[in-house]
Subunit: 345 residues, 4 copies
C-alpha cells in the first residue's frame, strides 16, 4: 500500500514521514509540495539524510491518483478545500489534517477561518477523526477530517465528564497552552527565537479558530452547550499542548467517582492514559508519542473539577492521530507505527 503526503515540507508532513517510515503496512510514501519541487526531501529535513531518498514532487492530482491509495493532506487551511474534493472523487482515501473539512456548517467555517468553505456534500461525507470517540464511524470512512491539536486535547479531556455528569455548562473554562511547532514551519517574526524564548504569551484571545470545532464536538454530547471560554498561550518550547480545564458539576462528586468514570471510559484506549490520584501529566511525558495523558481532580474546597490533558501537538494532535485513523480504516492494529514510547528527557 502506498501513501502520498501533500504538504510534506511542513512539520506535520515531516512527522508523517517519520511515522510512515516505521509503519509495517505503508512503507512506500511519496511527498508533494507547492514550494520546493525537485528538491530532495532530506535537503529540507536533513534528519532524513540517507534514510529516505524521496524527492519533493509537484501536486499533480491525476498522477497521484494513479500511484497511491491514500492521501494525507498536511497543508495549511484553505488548500484542502479545493484539492480534497478532486482527490476524493478519484476514489482515493483522504485524511485531511487541516481545518477545512471539520465543520458540518459552512457558515461556521467561513466565519472563523475567513475562507470559502468546502462543498456541502464533501463536508457531509467527512468523518471527524477523533479516534477514541468516533472509532466506529472512522472504520467505514473514506474521508477523514483529522481533528485540530487543541480540540484533541480538550475534547478527550472533557468528553467523559460531559457524557456522564451534569455540569454547569456556563462554567466551562479551557485555558490552553501550546509549544511553537503548532504555528508551522515558516519565517515569521512572531515565532522567531528571540521573540519566543524566555517569554510566555497569550494569543488570539477569545478568537481562536479551534473554538467552534470544540463547540461542535461537545454539542454532540450535550446540545445545550453554549459558547465556550477558550484561550491559547504560546509556551517557549517546541512540542506539546496542555489544556487546563475547569468546570463545576451540578452535584457533589468524590475524587474516586470522578476517576472511575474516566478510567472506565478509556479502559480500551491504548493512547489515552488516565493518571492516578494526585498525579498530573506534563507535556514532556508524551513527547514524540501518540499518547494523550489526562489528570483529573475534584476540589472539595471549591466544588469544581480540574482536568489536565496533554498531547504532543504534532503526534496525537496531527500526524499520529492521522495514522491512527488510517489504521482503524484499514482494520489493522490501531497502534501500528505508533507504539514508540515518549522521548524523555
Amino acid at each position: 500500500m502506498k501513501a502520498a503526503i501533500i504538504g510534506a515540507t511542513g512539520y506535520g508532513g515531516a512527522e508523517l514521514v517519520r511515522i510512515l517510515h516505521q509503519h509495517d503496512y505503508i512503507k512506500q510514501y511519496s511527498v508533494y509540495t507547492s514550494s520546493q519541487v525537485g528538491m530532495k526531501f532530506s535537503e529540507s529535513y536533513p534528519q532524513f539524510n540517507q534514510i529516505t531518498n524521496e524527492q519533493l514532487k509537484e501536486i499533480d492530482i491525476d498522477k497521484i491518483s494513479e500511484e497511491v491509495d491514500v492521501v494525507f493532506m498536511a497543508t495549511p487551511s484553505g488548500i484542502s478545500n479545493e484539492l480534497t474534493p478532486k482527490i476524493f472523487e478519484r476514489g482515493l482515501t483522504v485524511i485531511d489534517l487541516s481545518g477545512d473539512l471539520r465543520f458540518k456548517d459552512q457558515d461556521v467555517y467561513e466565519t472563523w477561518y475567513k475562507k470559502k468553505a468546502s462543498p456541502k456534500d464533501v463536508l457531509q461525507k467527512a468523518v471527524y477523526g477523533l479516534t477514541e470517540i468516533n472509532r466506529e464511524i472512522v472504520k467505514d470512512a473514506k474521508l477523514i477530517a483529522n481533528p485540530g491539536c487543541y480540540p484533541t486535547a480538550t475534547i478527550l479531556g472533557l468528553y467523559p465528564l460531559l457524557k456522564n455528569v451534569k455540569v454547569d455548562l456556563d462554567s466551562i473554562i479551557i485555558d490552553a497552552k501550546s509549544g511553537v511547532s503548532g504555528a508551522g514551519r515558516k519565517a515569521s517574526l512572531a515565532t522567531s527565537y528571540c521573540e519566543v524564548n524566555e517569554n510566555f504569551r497569550i494569543y488570539k484571545v477569545n478568537e481562536h479558530q479551534h473554538i467552534p470545532e470544540i463547540e461542535q464536538a461537545l454539542k454532540t454530547v450535550n446540545p445545550e452547550l453554549g459558547p465556550i471560554k477558550f484561550n491559547t498561550h504560546l509556551v517557549p518550547m517546541t512540542r506539546g499542548i496542555m489544556a487546563t480545564i475547569y468546570c463545576k458539576p451540578l452535584n457533589k462528586m468524590t475524587e474516586k467517582s470522578l476517576r472511575d468514570l474516566y478510567q472506565d471510559f478509556y479502559q480500551n484506549d491504548t493512547f489515552v492514559r488516565v493518571r492516578e490520584e494526585g498525579n498530573y501529566p506534563s507535556t514532556k511525558e508524551v513527547y514524540g508519542s501518540n499518547y494523550c495523558d489526562i489528570g483529573i481532580t475534584y476540589d472539595e474546597r471549591t466544588g469544581w473539577v480540574t482536568i489536565v490533558s496533554v498531547i504532543d501537538n504534532l503526534m496525537k494532535g496531527a500526524a499520529g492521530q492521522a495514522v491512527q485513523n488510517l489504521n482503524v480504516m484499514l482494520g489493522i492494529d490501531e497502534g501500528t507505527g505508533l507504539y514508540g514510547p515518549p522521548l524523555f528527557p
Copy 2:
C-alpha cells in the same frame, strides 16, 4: 542610610543587591546568610565580581541592629517567623519577602504552610505591601509583609473589577503560570534543567499556599468571596508570571467601560500599565523590571471577562516591590532605583 539583606544568597536576595546597588538613597548594604558565611558575595554570584566586595556575614541580630536602618528578609518561609519579631523590637524597619507575615489569621498560615505562625501582635503590625492598593498605610508602616509573586499579579489584575463591578463570585478562575526562578536557588530534581526544559507542567493543583493570600486580599473588597479556583504551572523559562483570569460580570459590559475602569484605577500608578484594546502583555515585556502589565477584554460572545496580568516574579513579585515599599515608607519618589526599562529581547 544602610540596609541589611538577610538570605542574600537566594535569587530574591541577589535581585535586592542589584537594585540597591543603583539606588540613590541606599547605596550601602550588607549581606547575611545562614549557609555560606565568610564567602564573598561575588563568589556566589559572579555577575557581581568587581561590582561589590561585600562578604556574606553570619546573622547576628544585635550586630545588625547596630549597623543598619532597614532589614530585608529574603529568607524561605519559616525563618522570618522567628527572626523578624526580634529585629522589629530593636526598632528597625523590616520588609519581609517571605509568606510568614502575610496572614492576619494564624490558623490560615498554619494550615497552608504547615509551620508555626508568627506571634499575633507582630502579625497585627505587619502591613500587606501591595503598594498600589495599600500605599496609604504603607507610608506609616514599620513592618511590611511583602506580597507573594502570584498574589501580586492576580490581585492587581482583579482588584479594579471586583471594586467596581458586580461579578458572579463563584465564576472566578485564576490560571497562573510561572518561570522557574520562583522556586528559589537550590539543588532539586524537579527544577533541574532536563526535567523542565521543553516541558510544561502543572503543580500544586488546588493546593498552592498563595490561594489563601489572594482570598484574604480580595475579601477586603468583597467579604462574600468564597474559595477561589487557582492553579499554577511551571513554564520552561527563568523569570516571569502570567495570571490568566476569567470571571463573569453579573451585568453586561462594554469593552470600553471595562478599559476605562482599569485605566482610571491605575492612572497614577507608574508601575501598572493597562494595555490598549486588543493588546495583551507577554512576560518578556516586563522582564527585569518592576512593571505589572495588564490586558483586559470583555467577550461579547460569552459574556465573560478575561484579564491577563504579567510581572517579573523577582521584581514586582519580590525584590522590586520590596524596594517600592521602602521608597514609599521613606517618602521619596516611589520609583527610586526601579525605573530601568524591561530587558528585551
Copy 3:
C-alpha cells in the same frame, strides 16, 4: 533473550528501556537500582506509564545471573569497577556504559577518575565498543566498555583523517559542546534550570576525564600522538553533542579528497552519515537517534581542516551504541531497534 539494566533510574538507563521496548530480539528486560527499590519504573519515569509495569529491583547479582543473559551497566563511574567482575565471572555478557572499563592502563583511570581501577584481567578482556572502529573484535566480545559520549563524537570525527593523512599532531584542537542530560539525572545547583537556561558555560577546562579516553583511542592510529587539547561547554539544551575539531594536515589537500576519504571510510556504516560539501550537521538533526553526522571542510585560506561531528549523547553516545554493540555480538542486524529517524523539530 532477557536483559538486565542496572542503574535504570538514570537517563541512560531510561533510554535503554525505550530502545529495548522496541527491540525485536530482547523484549524482556528487568530494571535494577540502588536507590528506589520497589517503586514502579513508570513512577520514576511517567512517560512509561501503561507501557511497562516493571518494578525497580534490588541489585542482587546471584538472582540477576539466574534470570538474564545480558547486563547493561548504566551506573555512574566507580560502581562497575566492583560489580562487573562479579557479573562477568558468572558467565553473563556485560555492556558497561560507565568509564570504569575503558582504560587498559589502571594508572590513567586512577589519575583522571580519582577512583580505584578495575582489576587488570577484567580490563584486558573488555573491548572498547566504538562499533564502527572495533566491529570485528566486538563480534567476539563478552565484555564491552561502551565509549563515552564526547569520545564517540570526537573519535568518529578524527579517525578517518588520522588514519589516512599526515597531520601536525600538536595542532589538533577539539572544542566540544554538550546538552545537559550528559550530567545525569540528579539534583544539582549547577544543572538547575535557572543556572543553565540562557547561559553558555565552559567547564572542566583542560581537565575532562574523557581526554585520556580520546588519547588512548587515537594513539592506536598514531602512537606518536601527544596530549590533546580538548574542552567542554554546557549548552542550554537537553540532548546533543557537537565536537568542532581543528587540525592542520602537513600536506595540501582538496575539499574533494577530504570528503572522498570520509565517505569511503564510512560507506558501510549505517549510523555514520557524512555530509555533502558546504553542509554541516546540527545536533537536532540526530535528536533521539543513533546517528553520528559528520561535516568536513578544508579551508584553502588557512590550510586547516575543520571537522564537525554531532551525536545524541544518550543514544550514539550511550544507550544506542550499547544496543548497537549488543546487536553485533548477537550477530543480528546491527541496527535492530535503532532505526527510528531523528525527532525534528
Copy 4:
C-alpha cells in the same frame, strides 16, 4: 545634548533606547526607521509602553542634522555606506554599529561583505571603537566604527597575550558561540524558534565576515599574523557570546605570569573583568551589561593557552560599547548609563 538612533526597530536600536533612557547626559533621543514610519516606538517594542512616547520618523538627513548632535547608525550593513558620509559632512558626530566603516582597505570589505565599500576618505577618518584598546584616539574622534560582537570578545581576549608574549601565530584558533539576537530582528526560518531551540548549529564555516575585522585589529599588534581560524556557532539562547581561544606560546609560561599579564593590562578598565585562577565566565554572568569577562589558563600538560572571553552581544558587542565610546568622546565618565549590573538569573 540630543541623539538620533537610525534603525531603531532592530534589537541594537532598542538596546540603545534602553541605555539612553537612563543616561544622565543624553536623555533626549529620537528614533528613525525605513520600515515603520509613523508608528509609536512602543508599538514595536511594548516593553517601552508609557516609558517613551517617541514616534518612528522617516530618515531625513537634513532634519536630523538640525535637531541632533550625535547619530547612532544601528542599521544592517550596506546602509551606513551611503548615509554616514552625508551625516558626517553636516558636522554631526556619528557612531556606526554596522560593519561598513570598520575596514581601512576597501577591497577587504567588498570581498567579505559583497557590497560596495564606503569612500576612502570617510574610512580614513573612522576610528575603530574598541574602547579599551583605542581609548586615546576615540577621545578625539568624530566618527566611530563600532566593533562587531565577535571581534569585541575575541580581540579583548587575545590582545594582552599577543602584545606581550611570543606565540605560534599559526596556532591561533577561535571557536566562537553566539545567542540568536546577533542575527537581528527579522522573520527568518533559520532563526525561528523550532529550528533553533534544543539545537546547536555551526554556521558560516570559515566564512564569517568578522574574520577580516579580527585579522585587521590583531595585525596592529603583530603584522606577521596570517589568516586566522575562526568559526561561529548558534546557541539556543537570546543573548551572549563566548569566544574560546586556543594558542601556543613559543616559550613556557606559568599560570601566574599569564594572569598577571591580563590583570595588569586591564587594571584600569572597569568593563573588562579578568577572572581568578580556575574561574571561567559564563555568558549569563554579563547578561544585559557592558562587561567583558575573561578567564585564562596555561595548560602545563599541553603547553597551550586557553582564553575564554564572554560579552552580551547587544551591549558590549553593540549598543553598550557605542555609548561607552560616546562617553569617551564627550569626556565624561566612561561608564555613564552603563553601570547596571548583569541580570541573573
